[in-house]
């Protein structure tokens, strides 16, 4: 504003017109994205909120049913809602910390100056490039109780074997294990963060006679908290929406052990054809993720360190 004001004083009319023209062009150039968002994201979003209060099933006329869709979920009329919430929470609680810690550990290793560093980085990132369908099929083979590689290795080591995704108890932990394979994206963000840590901080530790452990816990981890924070939030959001593995590998089984929330939504919409109910389910997930994200954001002031601001 201040700049603008001084501009106007210098050459009032012309500058003003130019700025307006520039703004117009700016918005025109941005309009594909803005309109795209409005039509393809915001529109459907609003529509789904609307139909979550109806009995819409695509085939028939929809009628307003108030909160009935939400009520039938919370009062247990729909026998799968709480089960899918439970299963998904279990997956999230297990997978997010493991993914973050695992990706962080790999990033630390790959940040060392070793020979063939680039090759290792590529190898660890590569699985992320594999589509969910392909990696699901690969892991179906690995998990195979009779011929799968995992059980063959356990057998070779004379360790007890597992039924993996075919056992009710092991299904979710198996899928968590599989999810660790694709933490490449998280790892790259960590790696970028690690390289942003100023070298002089480590040199200071050396000068003070500190050890590698000091470097890790006094320098690396505190300096990485913003990155850790970001990856944790993204991990939460991603894990709550896990879908492909249930759809491709387990079909929600055995005995609903992997009836993930998004898969339940899909089933409600396209097998039971209850679009209203499915929309309600989606909006509940939205609220859950929103609340959890807010909670993490609130907590961030306690443990996230931003260099520019100092510890809040």
């Amino acid at each position: 504003m201040r700049e603008n004001g001084s501009d106007r004083r210098a050459k009032p009319g012309k500058k003003w017109r130019r700025a307006r023209k520039e703004a117009l062009f700016g918005f025109l150039f941005a309009s594909p994205v803005i309109l795209g968002y409005l039509i393809f994201v915001f529109g459907p979003l609003a529509f789904s909120l609307g139909i979550s209060f109806t009995d819409y099933n695509i085939l028939s006329k929809m009628s307003f049913v108030g909160l009935a869709n939400y009520r039938s979920l919370f009062d247990g009329t729909n026998p799968f809602f709480y089960k899918s919430l439970l299963v998904t929470s279990y997956y999230v609680v297990l997978s997010v910390p493991l993914q973050v810690v695992f990706a962080f550990a790999v990033a630390l290793l790959l940040n060392r100056s070793i020979r063939g560093k680039a090759v290792f980085r590529t190898i660890f990132f590569l699985p992320t490039m594999v589509p969910v369908v392909a990696s699901s099929v690969i892991w179906l083979w690995l998990f195979n109780p009779d011929l799968g590689l995992l059980n063959q290795v356990l057998k070779f080591l004379h360790l007890p074997q597992s039924q993996w995704i075919f056992s009710e108890r092991m299904a979710v932990p198996s899928l968590v294990l599989m999810s660790l394979w694709t933490v490449g994206g998280t790892m790259v963000i960590f790696l970028a963060g690690l390289q942003g840590i100023p070298k002089h901080l480590y040199e200071a530790v050396d000068v003070d006679g500190g050890t590698a452990r000091h470097k890790l816990f006094r320098i690396t981890v505190p300096m990485m908290t913003p990155t850790l924070f970001f990856n944790t939030v993204m991990g939460f959001i991603g894990s709550f929406q896990v879908f492909g593995q249930a759809y491709i590998m387990t079909g929600g089984g055995p005995n609903n052990a992997t009836l993930f929330y998004s898969f339940f939504t899909y089933r409600e919409a396209f097998e039971s054809m209850r679009m209203g109910s499915a929309s309600a389910i989606s909006w509940i997930l939205f609220v859950i993720i929103l609340l959890l994200t807010l909670l993490i954001f609130k907590s961030s002031s306690l443990w996230v360190y931003y260099e520019s601001e100092g510890k809040a």
């Binding site: 700025a19 085939l59 009710e168």
Partner: protein
């Protein structure tokens, strides 16, 4: 600048909202208000309109139909050939085919939401009656009643989808039925007598178990009757079970999914639970059949038989299409008998969707697809069985599709064709309301039965109340 920018931004937002609003309300109209929904299809089919604008030299104005279907690449080719034949006979009708190999219902639901449904198409059986009730499908009786060429009584009862008395939603593209398929070489090598083909001579359950035991071989060559048999090292299984089609066993034991008027859940009753337990015992007690988890590393159907991973499969007759081209020495037998000698029949209907502008031509296409004369490759390849009765009864017609080709070996007519014709029982999707909801309760419970964790009775008792609460009755058929 800020003020102006805000003004511009809000203008664009308003335009955006209006556009988004239009999109949204169009979608609404499609499902909700009848009055304006007429506008949408006419706009969407304007291409069709354009092409039908100029009358041809014939008496008939050109007509374009859209036909959707699913199926393997082979099935796709054969269906498209059948439709080419149709266009040859009715040169003024153009049929655009759309092959949707996966997520068929999802795709069609989306098309319905956008008022883009095809004129004619296959529809998954478990959706058909619901779609019919919602007014999305024509009642075929409207056509059958006035058609001099074909009577309702010409069509197999087991291929008809009724949603109320006098209301016929669709007729199967094909009749399908369950039977035993086996590799003859395996039986001969092990000196096991071949499975019977006539319903009257079907295995009783104990004989079937014993046969499967003789055919199950471990890595050291011992069969399942050997006291030293090692169930952890099985090289060849006796039989592969389609656990998802457990109703095959339930029907054979005189059981049912629901009672006649659909008010009582019957799967937890003794005949049904016992039948399911018998199949589970083949897996967990006798170790002659692979569990669903083990099935993942055994190729199914023809390949499993050919590679001798399994000696027999209980499967639908459609597997003949693969067996027929496998060059394997295979045979067919009737299902083992428990209480009754029956076979379960299946199949998905071809329906005419509401919204078609050309119902008469659509009906001609349905009739064309029903007539094996025009789709003979589908029948002779083993994939489809006819839906018209005379193709089972008149020997010269039977000979056209069920004899003299590699997909229909000796014994087929007794073991599959006659058995399906005389002893067929429709699978529950033909009459149980909201079956997907019921299955969503039953299937997870049965997971634990196939894995041997619980007995069938225990598992089914555990979900009995839930399943009972999910019952919505049955669709009534004409008497």
């Amino acid at each position: 600048m800020n003020g102006k920018a805000g003004w511009l931004l809000s203008t664009i937002f308003v335009i955006g909202f209006v556009l988004a609003g239009c999109g949204g309300s169009n979608g609404n109209e499609g499902g909700a208000s009848g009055g304006s929904s007429d506008a949408a299809p006419s706009a969407s089919e304007s291409g069709t309109e354009g092409s039908s604008g100029s009358p041809s030299s014939d008496d008939h104005a050109p007509v374009t139909l859209k036909y959707t279907f699913w199926g393997s690449p082979n099935e796709k080719k054969i269906q498209e050939n059948a439709i080419k034949g149709f266009m040859k006979k009715y040169p003024w009708i153009t049929v655009n085919t759309q092959h949707i190999p996966d997520d068929y219902v999802t795709k069609l639901t989306t098309m319905a939401a956008g008022n883009q449904l095809p004129d004619v198409g296959l529809l998954q059986g478990d959706q058909t009656l619901k779609w019919a009730e919602e007014g999305r499908i024509y009642n075929l009786m409207d056509f059958l009643n006035d058609d001099p060429d074909i009577q309702l009584s010409d069509i197999l009862e087991n291929t008809q989808y009724w949603w109320a008395d006098g209301k016929l939603a669709g007729i199967n593209g094909a009749l399908e039925a369950m039977a035993i398929f086996y590799n003859k070489d395996v039986f001969q090598q092990l000196n096991v007598p071949l499975p019977p083909t006539k319903a009257e001579e079907a295995y009783n359950w104990d004989d079937f178990v014993k046969t499967a035991q003789q055919l199950t071989i471990d890595q050291k060559g011992r069969n399942a009757l050997d006291p030293d048999f090692d169930p952890k090292q099985i090289k060849q299984y006796g039989v592969m079970l389609p656990t998802g089609l457990y109703m095959t066993a339930v029907y054979a034991n005189g059981g049912q999914l629901v009672n006649e008027d659909g008010t009582k859940f019957m799967l937890a009753e003794p005949p049904a639970a016992e039948a399911i337990q018998r199949w589970a015992d083949l897996i967990n007690k006798y170790h002659v059949a692979p569990s669903p988890a083990q099935q993942k590393n055994i190729p199914g159907g023809a390949t499993g038989l050919q590679t001798k991973k399994v000696a027999m499969t209980i499967d639908g007759q459609w597997s003949l299409a693969d067996l027929g081209v496998s060059k394997m020495n295979f045979g067919i037998g009737v299902l083992p008998k428990m209480q009754k000698e029956v076979t379960m029949t299946l199949g998905d209907p071809i329906v005419i969707f509401q919204g078609t502008k050309h119902p008469k031509e659509a009906w001609e296409l349905v009739k064309w697809m029903m007539n094996p004369d025009s789709t003979l490759e589908l029948q002779s390849s083993g994939l489809w069985m006819p839906v018209l009765k005379k193709w089972y009864q008149e020997p010269d017609l039977v000979a056209k599709w069920a004899e003299g080709n590699s997909a229909h070996p000796e014994g087929y007519e007794d073991a599959v064709m006659n058995n399906a014709f005389e002893n067929g029982m429709q699978q529950p999707i033909y009459y149980v309301r909201d079956l997907p909801d019921l299955n969503a309760i039953i299937d997870p419970a049965l997971d634990n039965v196939w894995s041997g964790k619980t007995s069938a009775q225990e598992a089914l008792d555990g979900i009995k109340a839930k399943a009972q609460a999910a019952l919505k009755g049955v669709y009534t058929k004409p008497q």
